[in-house]
């Protein structure tokens, strides 16, 4: 493959190893939560027992929005965002744009959460950041997504941290590519019974080679999302718009045209939604109304990509007449390569461009990247152990985080399932996660042998995986007949996946236990 001079290879190995060891465990946390977040929508439906399958935009909602507009103070009726919440219900945010003292662009207004019948179930007032927190019925999926996106560190630091993790993954992928001389020759070579360094090296390089293109892809797109709002927008706004982020947003994402503030009622939103569904083969995932109640009102509907494509679709309608205007590129007013590249960043990162099939593939790739990260750190440690420089504390940390983190995520799911019916899931979901983290850390400190610690955590993972469907049913979640009758197959699929995952983990541990007992007996016999 790529042949570097010896000194440069040594340098690359050092860069690869140290970047992996210093940032690998945080990167692992970002990737494993991202892997789960690929199925955030399905996990949300499964955990909260959501059985509705029809989009809120496929049901009449025009009347509800008009009634809400009538009760909303005029100062917040500049723009309206509409999106789905809970069990395919509607969330409506009437708002105006403001510039915070920090120069950041924010939205302030009234956020209505509607129920199945279109009645107001909850009303919140404040900035977007204040009103869009997790709700009782989506606390688990919100927790997963928030952990992946910003590791629960406040903005902008959390986004910057995960962006740096993305860059670290890029550095590791590139340096790994450069140090591995026989990338494709070794692609099938796994010497499991070789010495620990060789075995770990093979595990790491085989998984790394197979997942290499996607490591680049996911790291790049992840960094793009982290740095876009935190660094990209302020820099471009400063360079080209004198620091005016509103002007930047209007130019890049807004609707060009002459302002016309003449009052005019908004056209029929149900007609717009029906037309958009007809044009894109799918309900909108988001709808926004600019200049609500004015003659120049524009309604924009956002859609997932059409079958066979990965670029999401955006349609624009004349708000006053509810007539179709045009298909809009994600950036600017005319189609461009940059606009297309920016538009495909999200589907490439989330893997949601071909439904459950692409999500399952992206989940598998996330698992492979987690495996590469952990085996890489283990290889680094094994090499030092070979040179009599044992780092027992770091080995334990790798075990505690490597197995403790998935255990804590499962505990968060169990905590959510038990407390959601009581209305306290927003508190107990992260609390369960932290409690399980504390237990794993404590186990890491008190369990004398590394193998016992690893095995104990794996048993807990397997048992909790297998128990989750039972906990869900015991806490009042819908049974399989009800989910089949409603056509909501995600609940059954997640049940089967957790049961199968738990059974496989426990079976594997049991097989390893039997193998070890057989080895111990074989070693004992000659002694006797």
């Amino acid at each position: 493959m790529i042949h570097l001079p010896k000194e440069e290879t040594k340098l690359m190995v050092a860069v690869h190893g140290w970047s992996g060891v210093l940032l690998g465990l945080v990167l692992y946390a970002v990737v494993i939560t991202g892997m789960a977040a690929v199925f955030a929508e399905e996990i949300g439906a499964w955990s909260a027992g959501h059985v509705e399958t029809q989009s809120a935009f496929a049901r009449p909602f025009d009347r509800s929005v008009r009634e809400l507009a009538a009760r909303t103070p005029n100062e917040f009726r500049d723009d309206v965002d509409l999106f789905e919440i809970g069990d395919h219900n509607l969330g409506v945010f009437f708002h105006r744009h403001e510039v915070a003292p920090s120069g950041e662009l924010i939205n302030r207004g009234v956020y209505y959460q509607l129920d199945r019948q279109g009645r107001v179930a909850n009303e919140l007032r404040g900035t977007g950041e204040e009103v869009f927190g997790p709700r009782n019925d989506d606390a688990l999926s919100s927790f997963l997504v928030d952990t992946h996106v910003r590791l629960h560190v406040p903005d902008p630091w959390g986004l910057l941290l995960t962006g740096v993790m993305g860059l670290a993954m890029l550095v590791a992928a590139i340096s790994g590519l450069l140090v591995h001389r026989h990338l494709f020759k070794d692609i099938f070579t796994l010497r499991r019974r070789a010495n620990p360094v060789l075995a770990d090296r093979d595990r790491h390089s085989v998984a790394g080679t197979w997942s290499l293109p996607f490591a680049f892809l996911l790291a790049f797109t992840g960094s793009f999302f982290s740095f876009f709002g935190t660094i990209g927008v302020p820099i471009v706004a400063m360079a080209a718009f004198g620091g005016d982020q509103q002007a930047f947003s209007d130019t890049v994402f807004g609707q060009p045209g002459k302002p016309n503030p003449t009052p005019q009622p908004i056209g029929n939103l149900d007609r717009i939604a029906a037309d958009a569904i007809g044009r894109t083969d799918g309900a909108p995932t988001f709808m926004t109304i600019e200049h609500f109640g004015r003659a120049d009102a524009a309604v924009t509907t956002f859609h997932e990509s059409k079958p066979g494509d990965i670029e999401p679709m955006t349609l624009v309608y004349h708000g006053g007449t509810a007539t179709f205007d045009r298909e809009k590129p994600s950036i600017g007013s005319k189609p461009s390569t940059g606009g297309t590249l920016a538009a495909i960043m999200a589907p490439l990162h989330f893997g949601n461009f071909a439904g459950v099939l692409s999500k399952a593939v992206w989940f598998g790739l996330g698992f492979a990247i987690c495996y590469v990260t952990l085996t890489g750190i283990r290889l680094w440690l094994a090499r030092r152990r070979e040179r009599q420089r044992s780092l027992d504390w770091l080995e334990r940390s790798v075990t505690v985080i490597g197995f403790g983190l998935p255990l804590a995520l499962l505990a968060a799911a169990a905590g959510f399932l038990v407390t959601m019916p009581l209305g306290s899931a927003v508190f107990w979901t992260p609390a369960s996660f932290l409690a399980a983290c504390a237990v794993a850390i404590l186990a890491g400190a008190v369990v004398p042998r590394q193998e016992e610690l690893q095995r104990g955590l794996q048993i807990a993972i397997g048992a909790l995986l297998a128990l989750l469907p039972l906990i869900r049913l015991a806490s009042g979640g819908p049974g399989w007949p009800a989910t089949i009758a409603s056509g909501q197959l995600a609940i059954m699929a997640v049940d089967i996946a957790t049961l199968a995952g738990g059974a496989w983990t426990l079976w594997r541990l049991s097989a390893q236990g039997r193998e070890r007992t057989a080895k111990d007996s074989a070693a004992l016999q000659p002694t006797e």
Partner: protein
């Protein structure tokens, strides 16, 4: 219909990956298996054949299918290497 093409493309590529894995000389040597692996030329043809279904999907213009095919081959190839190695000789 498109899904049928996609599944067929994945199945063909994975079958060829298994063939490549089976005849991989380095893997056979390190596992202590008889040296009857594929020659370098044959491996090159097989590698091209693995990529062919993806090239065809790209030619049709189905970018979503190309990505799903590539991801499936990546995971499938890794799993083939992981799972089947247990049956080899030490």
């Amino acid at each position: 219909m498109m899904n049928s093409f996609l599944f067929a493309a994945i199945a063909i590529s994975l079958a060829l990956i298994v063939w490549l894995w089976h005849g991989d000389p380095k893997r056979r040597r390190s596992s202590g298996l008889p040296q009857v692996g594929n020659s370098a030329g044959k491996r090159r043809y097989l590698a091209f054949a693995v990529a062919l279904p993806g090239i065809m999907l790209a030619a049709i213009g189905d970018s979503a299918a190309v990505l799903v095919w590539l991801g499936s081959c990546s995971i499938g190839g890794w799993l083939v290497t992981q799972l089947r190695n247990g049956g080899d000789k030490a």
